[in-house]
Symmetry: none
Subunit: 186 residues, 4 copies
DNA sequence: GATGAATGAGACTTCATTCAT
DNA sequence: TATGAATGAAGTCTCATTCAT
């Protein structure tokens, strides 16, 4: 698979499961069958390793969100599609979900890294901005609106991943509808 | 003020500002004007210190949420009151908000601690359950519904605290209305 | 019982069971239901506490060894009596045995303390010296001879206390005879 | 010499001289010219370091005891040889003697470690068992007999090492004869 | 006599990182 | 590319002891 990728995968795995605090380099080294020096061959230091992982995941997530967005759909249908895309990315990648969620608000993360990675979301951001402009969505500050919607997706996905609720098609429909109702105009 | 309280206050302050990783015991010791041994006189170890702080904050937050709930109000008005109570607790206690948010989903936290602290929210939980039963609120799994609503409050509060948006009465009204629209029945 | 005695008893108990390393003052404090300050009221410091305990035990042991020595007995019978006295003191006080054994060769002990406590054994020492002089015992350096004999008692007592052998009258007779055979003249 | 061996040697040196309590890891680190981390690279923790040292010494001692045992000698001569082998190992390695003696009865030592190391003594154990079977040695429980003899060697060696007696050939002959007299059959 | 909160030096250990191979 | 022994600063925690009450 290549040592570099193995290291990244192991890091994701461990941090998702144990958290940052309980994931020392020594553990990443052991679990990824790499030598200490090898990690430092590919990454400048621990911070760089984490930042790289974060960036790659964010890019992957950014692409997942807008999958099939070019299809012929009306605004509401595209909203539902984006919502579903994000939701399914989380459900199908629980470790990545865990990592991104923990990392996103952590003081561990560098603001610059966050800023840089915003670019992967430009299409989605534009979509929501359009919704406000054409009067489909409530006139809330753009990023607040996005955070509210994405927060809904997270809350729902988290409970499923944590096995606190059982996902069904009906439930999915209810939640996405609830989310839509919160931002749609009348 | 008492060393114990001083230690707890300092810990909140530091972890909110710097995060877990960047808050060694030595720093807590220095900033709280206590000796190393004193911390261990009151808390079994760092984990116990954090758990205790979390529990005390959760209790305080639980009480804040249901402030004035006994007043003569209709269901929707009570919903708005709880929403506002939580929001104001966050805005007025940004450090506590930061700590609770970071800590809540961290693998650092013990499930038992979370479970124990649920009791402080019984009144609020009962309130949402009632809403579903009497047909005021969408028939979603109880805790999912609560997480969606509280997630909205968090998203809004976070952006204000991070100074990413400027709070106004109008904005507040829009957001709380959005939140209500997402769970109200028609 | 008096706090002082309770502290000494607890210290014996703990050190016999756990060893010096695993017996911090804090544990003695907890198990003896005394406050930290109380220990320091009676003993200058930990060293003084241990030294005091050692001295009291040595005195007690010194008296036990020469019990009934004034009786009308011939030399060999008195040898057997002393041997038996020491053996029974060990068997009946396994914790004291453990403590004395561990403490005796520990660099923890102060030479002066050891020297001072020799006086309790003067009668026994005189008895062995007499044995050499009158030609009943091998002409070995006095303290070597004593150490060989007392070492035999210890080896035997230790195995019984550790339940590595089962004590019987016959076994006792064999061992004491073996010990006598090692030092008797022809 | 290799860091690992240097650490073990230094540990033996220090513990023999100062005892467990007065031998912190920091001192071992300083005297062995190793970094703190290096010790933990080779040993899980302090306990493991001590256990390893104990095991290696026991193995060495086991081999020393049976040196030249294959020579053409009668039973008594072999008994004297083993006695002398052990004695000389102690005299020539006073630090190892000190360490083994202090460690052997310490609650610090793990029973499993002791059990494992018994295997190095199988040849000697067999020799004493044979002595009992063929009627050369007193019919005492095997391990008791061994402990009595080895206890004699220890008592003698200790006094020489502590410079409480001066070793001479005559004295050596007297003591070994005394030891033999205690277990030989008539 | 007795208490126990408070102390702070120092114990053990972990950690990210380096560098010769 | 890859290794892993070695580093040492810094982390968490323990300990004997003090002192105001």
């Amino acid at each position: 698979m290549g040592k570099r990728q193995e290291i990244l995968d192991t890091t994701l795995e461990l941090i998702a499961e144990l958290g940052f605090n309980a994931t020392p380099m020594s553990l990443i080294i052991k679990k990824s069958n790499a030598a200490a020096g090898t990690i430092y061959h590919y990454f400048k230091n621990k911070e760089d390793l984490i930042d790289t992982l974060y960036s790659e995941l964010k890019e992957e997530m950014g692409k997942a969100i807008i999958k099939n967005i070019e299809t012929e759909l009306n605004y509401k249908e595209k909203f539902f599609l984006i919502w579903k895309n994000l939701f399914e990315f989380f459900i199908q990648n629980p470790k990545k979900f865990e990592f991104i969620e923990n990392y996103a608000n952590s003081p561990f993360v560098h603001k610059e890294i966050k800023a840089i990675n915003q670019r992967h979301y430009q299409a989605a951001i534009d979509f929501f901005q359009l919704g406000i402009r054409i009067g489909m969505l409530r006139n809330l500050p753009l990023y607040l609106l996005i955070n509210l919607i994405f927060g809904n997706v997270s809350s729902f996905a988290r409970m499923i991943i944590m096995e606190e609720i059982v996902p069904t098609d009906n439930l999915f429909f209810d939640v996405i509808q609830s989310s839509w109702d919160s931002v749609k105009v009348i």
